[in-house]
């Protein structure tokens, strides 16, 4: 197993015999191959990354020279599907229609072809993940912009220019084939958003809803023809565009591998696509593989559903206030939720509340103030709020036909929204009869929304439901619409009678809450933790119950927990399950903020919270209580205060003296957090935070410059176990999730480390922690301060578990169940230091989100992470840089543009780079400063200054990297912002924190190359 991502279950020691958390680059993978000498490579389960690296290894004959086979799909098959021209030729050969298109390698060719077929055209770069760099061009100017960027981003400098068919239905099929040529389709899916929106950004339903059998079978037959022509052995995804007014269709794309849609299809049907793909790859045929769900039938059948699923993407726009929310061919979502129900209405409403956007229905208050004219205008915009705009349009009695005409969304779906909206009106105006209440529940309304609409208290509605027996019953996902007896404990709620979740094992039951959709600040790390918790509980003989709604996770595999409830994580939905299961207790500390938020609700339901209690968790979040606790322990923290208004904030800030850190409480990922340097900043930030209604106060703290240090620890009430101390490369002020994190610490004195251990134990004891906690420290002038304590698992747990070889979650779960650390074999206090150094580096997706500011600050922006592991720090950090895609040559050109107060600090870095032989470009102020201080640099003109300007320099592709520190504020019109965006779009690494560059220098200084790095088998650490 080779993967650079430490947050995954798959890079766990027990998952494979050998695990390499290494950069997925040709050089490194070749090295690993030469160490391990495998017979074959399985490239079709690791997404586009896996497929691309396999093709690179194949293309230059490396695989042939080592006698290694590619399993699953042949290189020819991959090429036929991935290479635009080869794909077109193949489709032509088998008579499958494609969209009028042409592969071009230059902008000039793109232009002339676009003129030939007419605008609008879609630009799709070859070999990029998630369609990076693509887009629809309606004008020649747009074509120039998109095509040039696409050509640049493509690994082979190739883009496809194609006729735009927006408005057609977008339909996907998940197909499977074995070596005998037997083919099955697992599932088809229909995008509610017609062609034009990336399928990853579309609301998707499965199965298709508006296709008659003739159309369904036509596309199914085509999909099977394609997978047969490509001779794929395993899973494959085929995307079609279907003209809504005829049988005309076109194959948009084929993924000769398991994809995001496959994961969705697996959860939607209960058919384990990846597992079967792997078995097929090693030679099994479909009729030899058992259907794990029924246990009786075989993998060779097509699932039939007796429910529908709705998927809604989770977008990061709340994190990127400057970013464009418009959706197109470039995917922007970071995650997704799925909901299962017997009707579209109920599934849609469940999915909406699973998003955790504080919206539980189709009512979006901010739209209510718009005029009808504005709503009609908004309907034209394709963005993440479109379904709410449609709902609002329906409230204004704009007709389904009119909405269809504007949006081109099928009337079937608009009618479904209409049916949901109709209930709103009935609830507002009619008496709440049994019939109305039942209908509302079947349409997916929560008691909370019903209460808001009809004016009755939520509790009363719950009581009426109890009395009239309008309760949620759970149905099984069984792959076969009840045709065969199934034993899979995979459930969803419905308001039809008969509860199928009745299996009782007699064991004590524990509910583990999952962490919902993947978003910035709450990624798969929490899935890792939930899954490990379930495994630990199972080993201890408990019956485990998982509640989650994310189809991309391991926790929602039906064979992880004893029971899986695929449901929204809201108090009501969770209570429905609690009512049926009556568990012994619940564990919330592993499911991120999503699970923590439910602690109070669970306590109110009478569910025992296992591990740290609700009131103690609150003591870590509530400023006053937390200060009290710290004071009791004699632990210092940066001074601060709690405020609600701008005036209060300014008063506190001036007392503390600027700079200060401003942030809302009770959030994960530093949402809304910023450093304020003056009153104006405070005004700006507070009004930004208050755009969303705040239940909790805003915190204003003295900003302390210093080294940030982080620990994860386990406390059992008496003893503490600290796997290790991690140090952040970037100083305080940059969110820990966006910092480069190093284990073990490199620059922290023994004395400070001792203090950290002591504080950790003290505060854990004071807060009555049972289980895990995460603490962020700051070291300022040799003194240790606590910044925050999170009595829950953190995003560093998976990586620290891997590099220290300490099963943190397993131990924590046992502690939660009552075991004592001293009775286990891991010792107490700080765990022994690893011989290896691990560098965790954040991954950003800025190029995908137009106009997002790339500068780092207290608010987290990264969407993932990689790990570099080596004996030496310089090697580990270089590995991490390489794995994160930052390719730094040892010589080249660097552009430096920093704010005035950073100039002094930047000087030694510039000197070092100069010493390494880098040529330095700088804007006039910085250049003057550098030249005066003995660093030779060439002046470039700022953005508006015409020739020889920064944009020219960036686009000329001469730069190795850019150092740009951001000036304050979130204003996108500033130069720095433009430079950073230009860098992202031109794929030039741009560092916005000087500490990052210092780290990079340590790697460069040694003159290390990727060739010099030794891959490390994590299992041997």
């Amino acid at each position: 197993m080779v993967n650079s991502n430490p947050a995954t279950i798959m890079t766990d020691k027990d998952m494979a015999d050998k695990i390499y958390i290494e950069p997925i680059t040709k050089k490194t993978v070749e090295k690993i191959i030469d160490i391990e000498k495998p017979d074959s490579i399985l490239p079709n389960l690791g997404g586009q990354t896996g497929l691309n690296i396999a093709m690179e290894l194949y293309e230059d004959g490396f695989l042939a020279s080592r006698g290694i086979r590619l399993l699953g799909t042949s290189p020819e098959g991959i090429k036929k599907a991935e290479d635009r021209q080869a794909f077109k030729d193949t489709m032509e050969e088998i008579g499958e229609p494609c969209i009028a298109s042409k592969v071009v390698n230059t902008y000039e060719d793109a232009e002339s072809f676009a003129k030939e077929i007419g605008l609008p055209v879609i630009v799709r770069p070859a070999y990029t993940l998630g369609g990076t760099g693509g887009g629809i061009a309606y004008t020649m100017e747009e074509l120039e912009e998109i095509a040039k960027s696409g050509l640049h981003l493509s690994r082979v400098h190739q883009v496809l220019i194609e006729k735009c068919i927006s408005g057609w239905k977008e339909i996907e099929y998940e197909v499977m084939r074995d070596k005998n040529g037997s083919c099955i389709t697992i599932c088809n899916m229909e995008n509610i958003d017609p062609v034009g929106v990336h399928t990853g950004d579309s609301i998707v339903v499965a199965p298709s809803q508006t296709l008659a059998d003739k159309e369904y079978q036509m596309l199914r037959t085509s999909a099977i023809k394609i997978i047969s022509a490509l001779k794929i052995e395993g899973g494959c995804n085929v995307q079609f565009a279907l003209n809504p007014n005829s049988f005309e269709y076109a194959v948009i794309e084929v993924n000769p591998r398991v994809s995001r849609s496959s994961a969705l299809a697996s959860k939607a049907t209960g058919y384990p696509i990846a597992k079967v793909t792997a078995k097929i790859a090693i030679g099994y045929t479909l009729d030899e593989i058992k259907n794990a769900v029924t246990g009786k039938t075989y993998a060779c059948f097509e699932p039939v559903l007796d429910y529908v699923i709705v998927k809604i993407p989770k977008w990061p726009f709340k994190k990127f206030l400057t970013a464009s929310r418009e959706l197109g061919t470039q995917m922007k979502a970071t995650g997704e939720v799925m909901a299962i129900a017997p009707s579209i209405e109920q599934a849609l409403m469940k999915a909406i509340r699973s998003l955790e956007e504080n919206v539980d229905s189709l009512i979006l208050p901010k739209l209510q103030n718009l005029s009808d004219e504005e709503i009609l205008q908004d309907l034209k915009r394709v963005d993440n709020e479109r379904i709410w705009v449609i709902a609002e349009a329906i409230r204004r009695e704009i007709s389904v036909d009119k909405i269809h005409e504007i949006t081109t969304i099928d009337k079937f779906f608009i009618n479904k929204i209409q049916r949901i909206v109709r209930i709103e009106k009935r609830l507002k105006t009619e008496e709440l009869t049994e019939e109305l209440l039942t209908t509302a529940k079947k349409m997916g309304y929560t008691d909370k929304v019903i209460s808001e609409l009809c004016g009755k208290p939520q509790e009363e509605i719950k009581n009426i439901r109890k009395e009239k027996n309008i309760i949620a019953n759970f149905k099984m996902v069984d792959t076969c619409a009840a045709e065969f007896d199934a034993t899979t404990p995979y459930y969803y709620s419905s308001y039809d009678e008969e509860n199928e979740a009745l299996e009782e094992t007699g064991k004590k039951k524990i509910v583990v809450l999952g962490s919902g959709p993947i978003r910035i600040g709450q990624g798969i790390e929490f899935d890792y933790c939930s899954v490990h918790c379930v495994w630990a509980l199972k080993r201890k003989g408990y019956e485990t119950i998982i509640i989650n709604n994310n189809p991309e996770t391991v926790s929602t595999d039906f064979d992880i927990a004893d029971k899986l409830y695929f449901e929204p994580l809201t108090p009501e939905d969770v209570e429905n399950i609690i009512n049926v299961e009556k568990p012994y207790g619940a564990i919330v500390q592993f499911g991120g903020q999503t699970a923590i938020k439910l602690t109070k609700a669970l306590t109110d339901m009478g569910v025992k919270i296992l591990g740290t209690k609700e009131q103690d968790m609150d003591r870590a979040e509530d400023r006053e209580l937390f200060d009290e606790a710290l004071e009791k322990c004699g632990i210092p923290r940066p001074k601060g205060g709690t405020v609600f208004t701008i005036e209060e904030a300014i008063k506190v800030a001036n007392e503390l003296k600027y700079p200060v850190l401003v942030r809302p409480s009770y959030v994960l990922g530093g949402q809304g957090m910023a450093i304020a340097y003056d009153d104006n900043d405070v005004r700006e930030f507070i009004s930004e935070i208050n755009k969303v209604a705040q239940e909790h106060p805003i915190l204003v703290d003295k900003y302390m410059l210093g080294k940030e240090v982080e620990v994860d620890a386990i406390f059992d009430g008496e003893d503490i176990l600290i796997p290790g101390i991690m140090e952040h490369l970037e100083r305080a002020g940059i969110h820990s999730g966006d910092s480069i994190s190093v284990y073990p610490t490199q620059h922290i004195s023994i004395e400070n480390q001792k203090t950290i251990i002591e504080y950790t134990k003290k505060i854990a004891k004071e807060l009555n922690v049972i289980g895990v906690l995460n603490i962020q420290f700051i070291i300022n002038r040799g003194n240790v301060y606590i910044i925050e304590v999170n009595p829950r698992s953190s995003r560093t747990v998976p990586y620290i578990s891997k590099v220290t070889n300490l099963p943190v979650i397993d131990i924590a779960t046992r502690v939660i169940l009552g075991e004592k650390l001293k009775d286990m074999n891991y010792g107490t206090g700080i765990y022994k230091k690893s011989d290896y150094i691990a560098v965790k580096m954040p991954i950003f997706s800025f190029e995908k989100i137009k106009n997002a500011d790339t500068s780092l600050g207290p608010e987290m922006k990264s969407t993932g992470e990689v790990l570099g592991v080596a004996k030496e720090f310089s090697e580990a950090i270089l590995k991490a840089f390489i794995a994160s895609g930052v390719n730094i040559p040892s010589k080249g050109n660097v552009l430096i543009t920093v704010r005035d107060k950073d100039k002094i600090e930047m000087l030694p870095i510039a000197k070092k780079l100069d010493g390494l032989g880098f040529k330095i470009y700088a804007t006039s102020g910085t250049a003057k400063f550098l030249n005066e201080n003995g660093v030779e640099s060439e002046t470039v003109q700022k953005i508006w200054e015409g020739e020889n300007s920064i944009p020219d320099l960036i686009q000329s592709e001469k730069l190795s990297f850019i150092i740009n520190t951001p000036t304050k504020g979130k204003n996108e019109s500033r130069d720095g912002f433009k430079i950073r965006r230009l860098a992202v779009e031109s794929k030039v690494p741009c560092f916005t924190a000087l500490d990052t560059v210092t780290g990079l220098y340590e790697a460069l200084e040694k003159g290390l190359q990727e060739e010099d790095l030794e891959p490390v088998d994590i299992g041997r650490i």
């Binding site: 005998n180 040529g181 037997s182 083919c183 099955i184 389709t185 199965p207 298709s208 809803q209 508006t210 296709l211 008659a212 059998d213 003739k214 369904y216 079978q217 199914r220 037959t221 099977i224 809504p244 007014n245 005829s246 045929t285 479909l286 009729d287 009786k296 039938t297 075989y298 060779c300 059948f301 097509e302 699932p303 039939v304 559903l305 007796d306 429910y307 529908v308 017997p342 009707s343 579209i344 389904v400 099928d410 009337k411 079937f412 009618n415 049916r419 149905k475 076969c480 619409a481 009840a482 045709e483 065969f484 007896d485 039809d496 009678e497 008969e498």
Partner: protein
């Protein structure tokens, strides 16, 4: 209006009345197809049966005559979870409710179809009555039990001989309740199809005029088709290439000494895996049958099993030894369901044309 389905075991399922408001007694079967409701409702093999659609959303894409598998719906009643309020498809000419009303088909929506399906799976196919009055369940059960259906094939089969198309290859089709797409599948392959009533004397079919014979699908217990079985025995003796589909497959079996039996709850759906024992390849097939040929009753000197069902091992296809006869239990003509096995028509016509 509220209505009920009463099963012969006394269970009652409620729902909202849809379609035509009348009582009806039927054999209650379930179909797992997610698309193709119109094809199912108009398939003559469903004569006398009430169909439970396991897929919860029915009527989404409306309907158009061109998708009908015969001139009218043959189902006795329909039981669904939800009928779409607004249908949407470019070909749709009518809402499904209008169609049911016009054709006097009663039905219920809002039925807990999953629970009903599970009951049929566990207890086996049952008969039931759709009614608005459940004041005397015992009487209803008695009524259900006394209800007899016979001559189903006679009801659905064509009363007269007629010819479709004018292709090169002349095919005779013995109509036990043929789906339109069997005829269409032949027509698109350059055939002229002459359709004969179910009880047509074999001599007419064996006329030199016809190069091949197709035995169609149809409703009910195959053993009831006494005359047809006798005729088919004579067809077997000839040298004519014959393709049997579904009931046609069962009748050829009975005509050559094999036995049929009733399956617990039948195979009705679009997703039945069938393995071709010669190639090892598996095709996903569309199926609709309540009876099957008992594999132990097949005389190995007469026929060999060519296809089996992966799920339960039942006989799905036979090749008759020394003959140009192939018969399959499933529906190569699809509609609804996968088109993967329509190559059987090609294979059959290849044999026909070689002769």
């Amino acid at each position: 209006m509220k209505g009920y389905l009463v099963l012969e075991n006394g269970s009652v399922f409620s729902g909202e009345r849809i379609g035509y408001n009348k009582d009806a007694i039927c054999e209650v079967v379930f179909n797992t197809s997610m698309t193709g409701y119109l094809e199912i409702f108009t398939d003559p093999s469903y004569a006398s049966q009430g169909v439970v659609m396991t897929y919860p959303l029915i009527g989404n894409y409306g309907l158009t005559k061109e998708d009908q598998e015969s001139k009218k719906p043959w189902v006795e009643a329909v039981f669904v979870h939800e009928i779409a309020e607004m249908e949407s498809n470019f070909r749709s000419k009518m809402h499904i409710l209008t169609f049911l009303e016009q054709n006097e088909i009663p039905g219920l929506q809002g039925v807990n179809t999953r629970k009903l399906t599970k009951m049929l799976r566990q207890a086996g196919t049952m008969r039931g009555k759709i009614t608005n009055d459940i004041s005397n369940i015992d009487n209803i059960i008695k009524e259900i039990k006394n209800h007899e259906v016979s001559n189903l094939v006679e009801t659905v089969s064509s009363k007269e001989i007629y010819t479709c198309g004018n292709g090169k290859t002349k095919i005779a089709l013995l109509d036990f309740g043929a789906k339109q797409n069997i005829i269409n599948s032949l027509l698109v392959r350059d055939c002229e199809v002459t359709v004969f009533p179910h009880d047509t004397h074999y001599s007419k079919l064996l006329s030199d005029e016809f190069e091949g014979i197709v035995l169609s699908n149809g409703p009910g217990n195959p053993e009831d088709c006494k005359i047809a079985i006798q005729n088919i025995a004579k067809l077997y003796e000839s040298n004519k290439p014959i393709l049997g589909i579904c009931l046609g497959h069962q009748l050829m079996g009975l005509a050559t000494g094999a036995k049929t039996y009733k399956l617990k709850y039948g195979h009705r759906g679009p997703n039945h895996p069938v393995k071709d024992l010669k190639t090892g390849r598996v095709c996903i097939t569309s199926q609709n049958h309540g009876y099957a040929i008992e594999d132990s009753s097949i005389n190995p000197n007469v026929a060999e099993i060519s296809h089996i069902n992966i799920n339960d091992g039942t006989v799905e296809g036979l090749r008759y030894i020394g003959k140009n006869i192939m018969t399959v239990q499933y529906h190569p003509e699809a509609c609804p369901g996968p088109e993967d096995s329509n190559y059987l028509f090609d294979e059959f016509l290849e044999i026909v044309r070689k002769k």
